[in-house]
């Protein structure tokens, strides 16, 4: 590790956290309807859709609206992918996707996962990219943030019957947050050299006098929302490792910033919404500490390098395999850790080529439940689940029945929270265990031994946690993985989100108890430490046996000279 590398990480955190405070306040203003600079447009949408913006919904109504929107969009996207050959703006005459790949891809984009079992350049038309995928990148991100808004409202006051209007939240988040920031970011990316064009390809003459055709297209906008909305689906297969997605070190830093900024702003928003800013800061601190440890840990593992390579004299400093020379090790590891800590799943280097520990950290961040800071919206409501569990387990130790922000945490909330944790565990572990014992699953693996196990475990962790990043090395377009991972994405998203909306509904209806000296403190270092402990013990420990057989075994094997 170098001081420069660590400073890079420090700089990124300073930029992200510095921006999160004002942005968090701005998002609170959006949630509370105080942002109005596009009011006529906003009202136009409501009129068009027949939405009564004054009507607030109960949690059931909110969840149904959210589900309905997702189901319809899932259907539309599925149809578009199947029929893309007949649809306009398909200059390369790309054929329609197979049913299973279309299912997988539609599930992937409807759930903000952006798992890509297809090859973008060869299996999807420009029309489907822009009107299918990019639209979903906005909608699914906005839906996640809307759900977070609903959860936040549950804590704002006592005895609430409703938690907001889903359509209004969705519209406002898209209109006032995602669209404007993406447009600005896309413009900046274009300036830095990212293409945004209707042209399909350019022919270039290479230095050694050969000719090459490079695919281009409307990449800059997709790139912006890909990061901002923690989506991760790249315009190109090489994702942010591709020079047209991520031309230089500055865009790399900017993109890393983009994918973290909303995730870290939402706890601040929460602090504003509940009128207790320290509460938001505590959640943010827990997120940031875990992520920082992950960034430094992964960087350290990669900077230490592969002992086999060093022994063979191939390299003296670090593991360079699968990384862009343009970015270097710290910027590459930080991008990947940030992208897995946010459920973005974008990559600018190949996790498959990382050292075992360097690659284990991104995987573990996903398994923790995507809370560091997690997907836009989803990261926030997931950390709320952990905060409730932390308060429940340790809160009794102050001699009162547990409460979080004045709301009593009781059997119903615990039941729903444990249901959420169970669904994530069930899909990740049984999915990968099942795939590893079937011939079909094993044939998807590129590597044998613990590395192969990591590839499969990573894929299921990524899908279930709606991350979408791939370890690479895995052939994902098989019936087992298309359908299995598709189901994991849908359950990981909605079977988790709906119980949480139910928790929000249940908490909203409870009276808000005033805090006193006897109240369990949910701010300050002690709570942050406790929350981190609970995230790791309740959110991550169940994956330790599997992880031990994967990256951890590989790590120790590597040092004894055995590779896969």
């Amino acid at each position: 590790m170098t001081t420069q590398g660590l400073l890079y990480i420090a700089l990124l955190f300073a930029l992200v956290l510095g921006a999160a405070f004002p942005l968090g306040r701005y998002i609170a203003a959006i949630f509370e309807g105080r942002v109005t600079w596009l009011r006529p447009v906003e009202r136009g949408f409501y009129r068009l859709a027949g939405v009564d913006e004054a009507r607030s919904m109960q949690w059931q109504g909110y969840a149904i609206a959210l589900l309905l929107l997702s189901v319809i969009h899932f259907g539309l996207l599925y149809a578009m992918l199947r029929l893309q050959y007949y649809l306009p703006w398909n200059p390369l005459h790309i054929a329609g996707m197979s049913p299973r790949l279309a299912f997988n891809t539609a599930a992937s984009f409807a759930t903000n996962t952006n798992w890509q079992a297809y090859v973008p350049e060869g299996q999807i038309s420009n029309g489907a990219q822009v009107f299918g995928l990019v639209v979903h990148m906005f909608i699914s991100a906005a839906a996640g943030i809307a759900a977070a808004a609903a959860v936040m409202r549950a804590f704002t006051a006592g005895s609430l019957k409703t938690i907001g209007n889903f359509y209004v939240d969705l519209t406002r988040v898209t209109l006032y947050l995602l669209l404007p920031v993406s447009l600005v970011a896309a413009t900046l990316l274009v300036i830095a050299g990212v293409p945004q064009t209707f042209a399909q390809a350019v022919d270039v003459h290479t230095l050694n006098a050969g000719a090459q055709t490079l695919a281009i297209g409307p990449a800059a906008l997709q790139e912006a929302i890909k990061e901002l909305g923690t989506n991760g689906g790249g315009f190109f297969n090489a994702n942010s490792g591709h020079p047209f997605e991520n031309p230089n070190a500055w865009t790399n830093l900017f993109e890393t910033w983009l994918l973290l900024v909303i995730g870290f702003a939402l706890p601040i928003t929460f602090g504003h919404m509940v009128k207790d800013k320290a509460q938001g800061r505590a959640l943010m601190a827990a997120m940031a500490i875990i992520l920082a440890l992950g960034c430094v840990g992964s960087y350290a593992a990669e900077a230490a390098g592969n002992p086999q390579h060093i022994a063979a004299g191939i390299t003296a400093n670090g593991n360079w395999e699968g990384k862009e020379m343009r970015f270097g090790i710290p910027a590459s590891t930080t991008f990947n850790v940030a992208a897995t800590g946010t459920s973005t799943g974008a990559v600018d280097s190949f996790t498959d080529s990382y050292t075992p520990l360097g690659g284990a950290i991104p995987m573990f961040l996903m398994q923790l439940g995507e809370v560091t800071p997690g997907g836009v919206g989803s990261g926030f409501y997931t950390i709320i689940v952990f905060a409730l569990l932390a308060v429940f387990v340790a809160g009794l130790m102050v001699g009162r029945t547990p409460e979080y922000l004045g709301k009593k945490v009781q059997a119903k909330e615990i039941k729903l929270a444990m249901l959420g944790v169970l669904i994530l565990t069930l899909f990740i572990l049984s999915g990968s265990a099942f795939s590893l014992v079937t011939a079909s699953g094993v044939s998807s693996l590129e590597n044998a031994g613990p590395h192969g196990l990591s590839e499969m475990l990573y894929a299921w962790s990524s899908a279930t946690e709606n991350n979408g990043s791939a370890f690479a090395g895995l052939t994902a377009d098989t019936p087992l993985l298309d359908y299995g991972l598709g189901a994991a994405m849908l359950f990981g998203r909605f079977a988790f989100m709906i119980p949480i909306l139910a928790i929000a509904g249940s908490l909203a209806a409870k009276p808000k108890l005033p805090a006193s000296a006897g109240t369990f403190p949910t701010t300050g270092p002690l709570f942050i430490f406790l929350l981190i402990g609970v995230i790791i013990i309740l959110g991550g420990l169940q994956f330790m046996p599997a992880d031990t057989l994967g990256p951890i075994a590989e790590h120790f094997l590597l040092y004894t000279g055995k590779t896969f």
Partner: protein
């Protein structure tokens, strides 16, 4: 009941009985109420079957049988913990049950004629029956006195052997089944059907027979069940990961991993903690009608405390002499002492005591003295002897009996005494005003510190008094309460409770009279005095057998202690998991990847020894924590943040570290006996 205090933590009889009970509690149908231990039992049965199979097929069976044995011990330790807790309750219940012998009741045929009655078994009594209870009779069931006055020995219920007076009407009209009338007679209307009397309820409660899970316990059970399922998924899927990696895990190994990961410690101790919490209250001579009430006590935000008896000593006491000019204080004190010679009230005695303390004055009552008793008309009392007359009494009455007006110094003293919340009495000798005595409500020593401690816990104290505002404010300030209700009436008490509850706060109060019943019912924790009326006892959710209103504070502390114990052991149990991974994972994977031996940070000798050590630790820790579960984690009134820090350090961080040491120790122990090493 008083003897119950002496039940030691591990009474030999209780332990013996509990050991037997713990085996009966293995019945899977009853055990299914406890998901963690139920899963452990199933797993233990499965491993036993594996062991038997190994024996039958002549495979090495030592390891599976040892693991099976320890898994069964884990289950038995858990049921044993519950049985011990119940046993302690049962010992108390037995002393109660003796009181509930088969008494014959005298059911009256004509209420006016006490000679006519029909002997009826107490067990056949119905609500509404009118019974006669005469000297020497046991009260057959709970009831309300409708006629008569008698002294009743209630030691069967309260442990206090001095008889108390019970009479029709007023606040002392309730009688409890099993108590004995020692003089006179009572006509009682029965208010409880057989089997549901106060004594029956108490027996059921202390035995834990009717124990229903409290809301927090239910929620905790859900969390524990959820964790159990999560770890079940982790262990079952490990079979698949193992198959891919070329490892076949045996059933005993997987069983050991599962049982070590699921929260058996808290799962095994949870119900013991609950029973012990009720038991602590009973030992304190307070009976809660439900576990829910004990839990609510921990959550209380405001305590309504009666001034008299709780905050101040029951009686006002003389605290100073204020002579008029020209009279010295000693002379005034002497006059006061004479004037109080015939006054047997606590106030009169306190005046004599003060005179003795300050001026060594202890006048004898002269033989020819005429005592002038206090009357509502004169509002004065005193004594006449040897041609002298001494009087003390209400200031305006004394002044009216004298000629002339009071001087400015006197008026000033009177005003100052009243402002301080005390009561002034004027004193005269031979028709001359000598000065005033201050009668003060004495705040109990140490009560202010207690209220400060309560405040640090976030609990507001509210003083309830019939005094006027000025007096109430002065005493409230002296005692350090947060608020007071002056000129309290049942209605304004009720209004006050409703007001705090509307802010989302929980209120505890105690009361005894019928007019307290609405407020007791409205309060989240209502402690009725055993001496009180039946109405009050039914409205409250706890009954204090000693009728001591100060206990409210201890009740809150017991509630908090119960919750803290539950939270501490849950945290400890979950924190234990980290070390168990380090013990078991290297052990079970080392066959496939010998390099993983690097994770064996405890340097456990062999894989078998490592797994067995973890399982043994997991079982023994339950027994080791039984005393803590029964006694409860000590509660300290140091504020939530400090309390959390302390407990998190002891039970959270301690829970991570302790098993590393424990497992290593067991491993070393096993190697000494060459077991699996």
């Amino acid at each position: 009941m008083a003897s119950a205090d002496t039940i030691s933590l591990f009474d030999a009889r209780i332990i013996r009985r509990a050991a037997v009970d713990s085996v009966f509690k293995l019945n899977p149908i009853t055990l299914a109420r406890n998901p963690v231990i139920f899963v452990t039992e199933i797993v233990a049965a499965l491993v036993t079957a594996t062991g038997i199979e190994a024996v039958v097929t002549h495979h090495p069976a030592g390891f599976p049988i040892t693991i099976a044995a320890w898994l069964w011990l884990t289950v038995i330790f858990a049921t044993f913990a519950e049985a011990v807790a119940e046993g302690r309750g049962r010992a108390r219940a037995e002393s109660l049950r003796r009181a509930r012998s088969d008494t014959m009741a005298k059911v009256m045929i004509d209420q006016r004629d006490r000679a006519l009655y029909k002997p009826t078994a107490a067990s056949d009594l119905r609500r509404g029956d009118i019974v006669l209870v005469e000297t020497g009779d046991l009260v057959p069931s709970d009831g309300e006195i409708i006629e008569g006055i008698a002294s009743v020995n209630e030691s069967a219920v309260t442990g206090e052997s001095a008889p108390v007076v019970r009479e029709a009407g007023g606040d002392r009209s309730a009688v409890t089944g099993g108590t004995q009338v020692v003089s006179d007679w009572l006509v009682v209307r029965i208010t409880a059907d057989a089997g549901s009397t106060f004594l029956d309820r108490m027996i059921a409660l202390v035995e834990g027979a009717e124990r229903r899970k409290t809301p927090n316990e239910i929620a905790l059970n859900i969390l524990l069940a959820g964790l159990t399922i999560v770890f079940l998924v982790a262990v079952v899927t490990l079979v698949g990961f193992g198959q891919y990696s070329g490892t076949r895990f045996s059933i005993p190994v997987l069983a050991a991993l599962l049982v070590c990961l699921i929260p058996t410690t808290i799962g095994g101790l949870l119900s013991a903690i609950g029973i012990a919490g009720m038991d602590r209250l009973v030992r304190f001579n307070v009976v809660a009608t439900s576990g829910r009430a004990v839990e609510a006590a921990g959550d209380v935000d405001a305590l309504l405390l009666d001034k008299t008896g709780t905050i101040t000593f029951g009686n006002r006491m003389a605290s100073g002499f204020y002579p008029v000019p020209g009279v010295n204080e000693r002379d005034l004190a002497e006059a006061c002492a004479y004037a109080s010679l015939g006054d047997d009230t606590p106030e009169g005695r306190s005046i004599l005591a003060l005179a003795r303390d300050r001026y060594q004055l202890a006048p004898e009552r002269p033989a020819d003295a005429t005592i002038i008793p206090f009357s509502a008309n004169t509002r004065m009392s005193g004594v006449d002897f040897a041609g002298k007359s001494y009087r003390k009494g209400a200031v305006d009455s004394v002044l009216a009996s004298l000629s002339g007006t009071a001087d400015a110094t006197f008026v000033d003293s009177i005003a100052r005494i009243a402002r301080a919340g005390s009561t002034p009495l004027a004193v005269s000798a031979n028709g001359r005003l000598l000065g005033a005595i201050e009668l003060k409500d004495i705040v109990k020593p140490g009560i202010k510190d207690r209220f400060a401690a309560l405040r640090a816990m976030g609990i507001r104290t509210v003083m309830v008094t019939g005094d006027n505002r000025i007096t109430a404010a002065a005493i409230a300030a002296e005692a350090g309460v947060d608020d007071y209700i002056a000129e309290a009436t049942p209605q304004n008490k009720l209004d006050y409770i409703r007001k705090i509850q509307s802010e989302g706060r929980l209120v505890a109060m105690c009361g005894d009279g019928t007019n307290d019943a609405p407020a007791l019912a409205q309060a989240d924790v209502g402690v009725a005095m055993q001496t009180g009326t039946q109405a009050a006892r039914e409205a409250g959710n706890m009954v204090d057998l000693d009728s001591d209103p100060t206990k409210l504070i201890e009740i809150v502390e017991i509630g908090k202690q119960l919750l803290i114990t539950r939270g501490a052991l849950t945290t400890f149990s979950i924190a234990n998991d980290i070390s168990k991974y380090f013990a078991i994972l290297p052990a079970i994977f080392v066959g496939t990847y010998p390099q993983l031996a690097a994770l064996n940070v405890m340097h456990l000798r062999t894989p078998e020894s490592a797994i067995l050590s973890a399982v043994i630790f997991n079982a023994l820790i339950i027994v080791a924590l039984v005393p803590l579960a029964l006694r409860g984690v000590k509660f300290r009134a140091i504020g939530a943040a400090a309390l959390l820090k302390r407990n998190l350090l002891v039970y959270g961080v301690g829970g991570i570290i302790a098993p590393f040491a424990g497992i290593k120790l067991i491993d070393v122990g096993l190697s000494l006996f060459h077991v699996f090493s």
